[in-house]
């Protein structure tokens, strides 16, 4: 696949945007400025970026508890994202969802999800709509290695395969479900093997290599768009930080293991490739990063300054109706 330079650049931008957003968000959480818990995507950027680069604005995406990266890669705007994380009225969800429920339906991003395995059945529904409309839309469905043992994932894959729905299932295999290593939660090494259970293609891809993810997705998306049905893509990847927040690691995995994966950092690797190939010099990618960083700072400033939700909005948005009828049936 000969990839035009603007696409290569675009992949790098998506990854850098995720990295900078997440690291700053993580720090704010540890400082107690962002309330609650953030599941950060740092280390896994190549997956969201590589997948979403093949998606159009009107394609759909279901996400996980680790959802910021997916939203950013799908085109999410830093300002309403941080505002949401801060619990502000200007947030994507008016402060009601927070990190675990961040969503932008205008981008087809059907929400981060606090329920492991919650998203895949929803992706089936979105793909059903896409198929009915016949405009070639697809739905990308992200889930983790841990989630792959949840019954809903099985049900969703079976339904998508049965109806030849345009779903690209993307298993982000970061080797752990919380603190449990993959070999202690399942016997197969490759989740992609499970695709055979539904007669759909299953592919393993290096999730630290954004081009590899992009290529594999490109194929899967093309097949889905043209009525060829779903596929399962498994990206081998790694989260740098702990399950929650930015503290580096803990007893469940070795410093060594982390270091080995970090040595294959998807952003660093890719920017070296781009420099070598003359697409973007290292100085240029440094500048890009600096630009993104200031965009992050600006967005954080915006979010910090923006007003809290009015407590009177508490009972709005429960129902699609005047708020009066949203008070417990009475």
């Amino acid at each position: 696949m000969a990839v035009p330079p603007e696409v290569l650049l675009d992949l790098l931008v998506r990854m850098v945007r995720i990295r900078e957003f997440e690291e700053a968000g993580g720090r704010l959480m540890e400082q107690g400025k962002i309330p609650g818990a953030l599941h950060l995507y740092v280390g896994e950027e190549a997956v969201a970026a590589g997948v979403c680069a093949s998606l159009n604005r009107d394609d759909y995406l279901t996400s996980t508890h680790r959802g910021h990266g997916h939203l950013i890669a799908k085109g999410g705007d830093f300002k309403p994202m941080y505002a949401e994380l801060f619990g502000k009225a200007a947030g994507y969800c008016r402060g009601k969802g927070g990190s675990m429920h961040i969503a932008d339906l205008d981008l087809g991003m059907l929400g981060a999800n606090g329920i492991v395995g919650g998203g895949p059945p929803i992706a089936v529904g979105a793909a059903w709509t896409a198929k009915r409309r016949g405009r070639g839309q697809v739905a990308a469905c992200f889930f983790g290695d841990g989630a792959s043992n949840q019954g809903t994932v099985h049900e969703a894959m079976n339904m998508a395969a049965l109806w030849e729905l345009p779903v690209v299932f993307v298993c982000e295999n970061n080797l752990y479900g919380e603190y449990t290593r993959q070999d202690r939660h399942q016997t197969v090494a490759d989740v992609a093997e499970r695709a055979a259970s539904y007669g759909m293609p299953g592919v393993v891809v290096d999730g630290m290599d954004v081009m590899a993810v992009h290529e594999a997705t490109h194929e899967a998306v093309a097949r889905a768009r043209s009525g060829g049905g779903p596929s399962l893509l498994e990206a081998k990847t790694y989260r740098y930080f702990n399950h929650i927040g930015i503290s580096p690691t803990s007893s469940y995995r070795s410093e060594d293991e982390v270091a080995q994966w970090r040595a294959r950092d998807p952003i660093e690797t890719f920017r070296q490739v781009l420099a070598k190939d003359g697409v973007l010099s290292l100085e240029q990618s440094d500048a890009l990063r600096a630009r993104v960083r200031s965009e992050v700072e600006e967005a954080i400033h915006y979010a910090e300054e923006s007003p809290l939700p009015d407590p009177d909005t508490l009972l709005q948005d429960v129902y699609s109706e005047p708020a009066a009828s949203a008070t417990g049936g009475a």
Partner: protein, 334 residues
């Protein structure tokens, strides 16, 4: 309701007409569930729909209830209006997460930026000798979930009008059909009509006592009211029709008039929705009460199989009459 061509139909036919009319009217509406298409539904409610509308609009699914509800959530959030079936409400546990955490909460979690026009049709109720996992009335669990509406029609007329309203409503509605009601007959206009969700119906006016009920138990309440009338006690029978949102106004207005209340439902009494109704009255109308608020509901056990046990389990008109008598002066004085 003044309608030109009022003719008789049964509850099953009423449901069927509502489905047929809405699938026809709105290209975004579709029906999905286990054996709803080829087999036309376990209780025949989707008879003829596959033939009329084809497999894109009337969809047989695998036995994957979580997948089915999730499919509805995803399809609704992207613009369609799914009507999905969970064959028996007893199976709601298989897909409760999708109902509780996805369907009901998505709109709120997204700050209002989603529309979830989903109807989950399901069946409830005992009395057909199918034992503990096919006979429950679990509406109380669903009423406790903000974001859902819960509808339980008792008559063919209501079934049609409320189902059409539920399908046109932009919110998730759980629509619960009692399996013993499918064959009851009643007046059902041929043309489509809507009935407002959240509005109870006074099925029988009375002055001495209010019986609040819903679904099949409404018919027991009416029979009990007949019996009470023979003893000179005039019971008002309220059919809630929609449990959530609850029509507190109709209930309280009646209590203000009668000063006595029996709440009767088929579900297990302990923790049942009758508690909510009784608590509402104890909170809002206690000064009007001349007697305890008596609840009639099933005892605290799973539904047994053996007919002799199931009949003993099922709340009925006799218990409603006894409850009513407990609220009457001669008794309350005791």
């Amino acid at each position: 309701m003044t309608t030109a061509a009022v003719r008789q139909a049964n509850y099953r036919e009423a449901i069927n007409e509502a489905l047929r009319g809405e699938i026809e009217r709105d290209p975004d509406v579709f029906l999905a569930g286990e054996d709803v298409a080829g087999h036309e539904g376990s209780f025949g409610a989707s008879a003829g729909l596959l033939a009329a509308f084809g497999p894109e609009r009337v969809v047989d699914t695998p036995i994957s209830e979580s997948g089915i509800i999730g499919m509805a959530v995803g399809a609704a959030a992207t613009g369609l209006r799914p009507v999905v079936e969970v064959m028996f409400i007893d199976f709601i546990g298989v897909c409760m997460d999708q109902v509780l955490n996805q369907l009901a909460k998505m709109k709120y979690m997204f700050g209002g930026k989603a529309r979830l026009p989903v109807v989950v049709r399901t069946t409830c109720g005992a009395g057909v000798r199918v034992a503990a996992q096919h006979s429950q009335s679990l509406e109380a669990m669903l009423c406790h979930i903000p974001g859902l509406k819960v509808v339980m029609p008792a008559t063919p007329y209501d079934a049609k009008g409320l189902l059409i309203s539920a399908i046109r409503d932009d919110n998730p509605v759980v629509f619960i059909e009692h399996k013993l009601l499918y064959r009851i007959q009643g007046e059902v206009p041929e043309e489509p009509y809507t009935l407002p969700l959240g509005v109870a119906e006074v099925r029988r006016p009375g002055t001495d006592l209010t019986i609040v009920s819903w679904s099949a138990m409404v018919h027991e309440a009416l029979a009990a009211a007949d019996e009470l009338a023979q003893r000179g006690i005039h019971a008002e029978v309220i059919d809630l029709r929609t449990l959530s949102p609850l029509d507190a106004h109709t209930v309280l207005t009646s209590v203000h008039k009668t000063h006595r209340v029996v709440v009767a439902h088929e579900a297990v009494k302990f923790g049942g929705f009758g508690g909510e109704v009784a608590a509402l009255i104890a909170e809002e109308a206690i000064d009007y009460l001349d007697a305890p608020v008596v609840r009639v509901g099933a005892p605290f056990s799973p539904v047994p199989f053996s007919p002799v046990l199931e009949d003993a389990w099922l709340p009925n008109r006799r218990q409603i009459v006894e409850a009513a008598l407990r609220t009457m002066p001669a008794r309350t004085g005791a």
